[in-house]
Symmetry: C2
């Protein structure tokens, strides 16, 4: 799934027509919320990344999960828009901290307006998301706030692991469970909570969300090493050069201790590291882990009715895994 | 009011004994919330500024305002702690963006742990504050989220006014109404909302909060020009050197256009600007504006019963204004 710069967001593509309608309604809410300030210096940077496109994967998860209960409620739309604003806020801060210059084919907010505006617009989007969550009321504000806290915890823990080739794959998985999967879990939980789905369905959706989130991050990390920059929109090997050693690299270090020594001594060029990872089967092993989490997500869906909305959730798993070319569907 | 590095926070000093008890209960909640992560790399930077002291002025406003209705509720404590965490989160991001090295007599979070951790710990504290607000439920999450959005709007607008000596005093006041006063309004509103105070009392408290917030910021800006660094803990003239022209300077530019030209040409040393501001009566005029807002805050209190908690709110006005030495009480 690549970013869809215009038209129907990729999170709804290939799904049922009602999902397209739902996503477009949330899209309208997103643009009106992030653009609500009368101050152009606030509204323009806040709308910047939203207008550049994006998959709207998290809103799609909220909307689809809401079919576990009584779908079509206003609170579900509010929660779907809220979680996307929170996600975008994290991207604003990530891009400042990583000094990323482009995202979704456009200059990043800090590249265009400077660091100060980008940090503050990120804070503003967190607040806008929280305000939508407050309007949704019920459990939504708490689910959102705790998910943001978990994402930040994961990101802070990751800063402490930079340049550490000794981090174990298990430590990596615990970090991405917070950094990435927490927002996927929250998305599914928000759909279930706002539609008053029963506890069994809600629990199954949260297992689905966590497994999908873990698979998503492992695939994203593989794409950083092996992805086609024309498709990913990112320079390959960025994590590696910045000392962020992801699971294919950490498996590689376990299988071939000389790799850990090379990384520690500063050899972090993709051209020299990639053949080592390939030779030791570390790329394939990471892909296996992603597929295993994809199968776990499938298993969670098996506890839910076999209907259109669960089929769409299944399609999302396949779409995430299919980003790495030689993965067969789960 | 200077920061109290230990013992009873200054926001409760000189107040009734029940306020001290209330503030210490909120203090405990603050430390437990910000320190809840099992990850030391998350808990330590998140607790850092809280442990360095602070006045706890905003929690004191929440707690005192709650006496307009049925005080002593758990939701009031949660809201009081929530707004302080939000305030501290804004300080973390301010200090990163202003490259401030010390605050409250200790190295800032970014000076100690780096920019990445400081930005993310600020985000984490926003989330912790929002989670406490969600636990308080009712109107609390919405009041908090909208206040955070207003603060960010004010801060972004201010970045657009840097190096602009033509900004009018009215534009300045509109900016600080968002940047600073919005959190004071929210504090008073949270006290009233969580105690089910009636609409008249709630409205009066919000006028009080806004006026106090405006007076507070004007005094803070005067202290940046004339304050004793041994008391303020800050290097004088910092705003001026960074091109942040506050109300005494903007009044000075209106009264003496040659000052605007000097500032535009880069002459921003306190030693040369201060005598010009003094000679044109601009410092005194800014002080008058602070006192006028102090009187407006007094006027709002006159609509409330003349009892112990309103007397404490009156003492806070006097305390804010008395920071500039030659101000007589309102």
């Amino acid at each position: 799934m690549t970013d869809a710069p215009s038209g129907v967001p990729a999170g709804a593509q290939g799904g049922p027509s009602w999902l397209v309608d739902d996503i477009l309604r949330v899209e309208d809410l997103l643009l009106r919320t992030a653009g609500a300030s009368g101050q152009p210096l606030v509204a323009e940077p806040s709308l910047h990344l939203l207008k550049a496109g994006g998959k709207r994967l998290r809103p799609a998860l909220v909307l689809l999960s809401s079919h576990a209960g009584e779908s079509g409620r206003r609170a579900t739309d509010l929660a779907a828009a809220a979680i996307e604003l929170v996600h975008i806020a994290t991207l604003y801060h990530d891009d400042v901290l990583d000094e990323t210059e482009t995202r979704r084919g456009v200059p990043t907010t800090h590249a265009k307006w400077g660091t100060e505006v980008a940090v503050l617009a990120g804070d503003y989007l967190f607040a806008c998301g929280s305000a939508l969550g407050a309007d949704a009321s019920g459990e939504v504000p708490g689910i959102l706030a705790r998910a943001i806290a978990a994402v930040c915890e994961g990101q802070i823990v990751e800063t402490g692991s930079v340049n550490d080739p000794e981090r174990t794959p298990e430590q990596y998985l615990n970090t991405i469970r917070l950094k990435t999967a927490a927002l996927f879990v929250a998305a599914c939980d928000l759909g279930a909570a706002t539609s008053d789905a029963g506890p069994d369905r809600r629990a199954a959706l949260m297992v689905y969300g966590e497994s999908l989130g873990l698979a998503f991050q492992v695939i994203d990390d593989l794409l950083d090493l092996t992805g086609d920059p024309r498709i990913t929109g990112k320079e390959p090997g960025t994590d590696l050069r910045e000392g962020v050693f992801t699971i294919p690299v950490l498996i590689g270090c376990q299988r071939d201790p000389s790799l850990a020594r090379r990384l520690a001594s500063g050899d972090r060029e993709l051209g020299s590291v990639l053949p080592t990872l390939d030779a030791s089967g570390s790329l394939a092993a990471a892909l296996d882990i992603a597929c295993e989490h994809g199968r776990r997500a499938e298993g969670a869906l098996a506890e839910l009715p076999d209907v259109e909305w669960t089929a769409s959730l299944r399609t999302i798993i396949t779409g995430v895994l299919a980003q790495v070319p030689d993965v067969s569907p789960v």
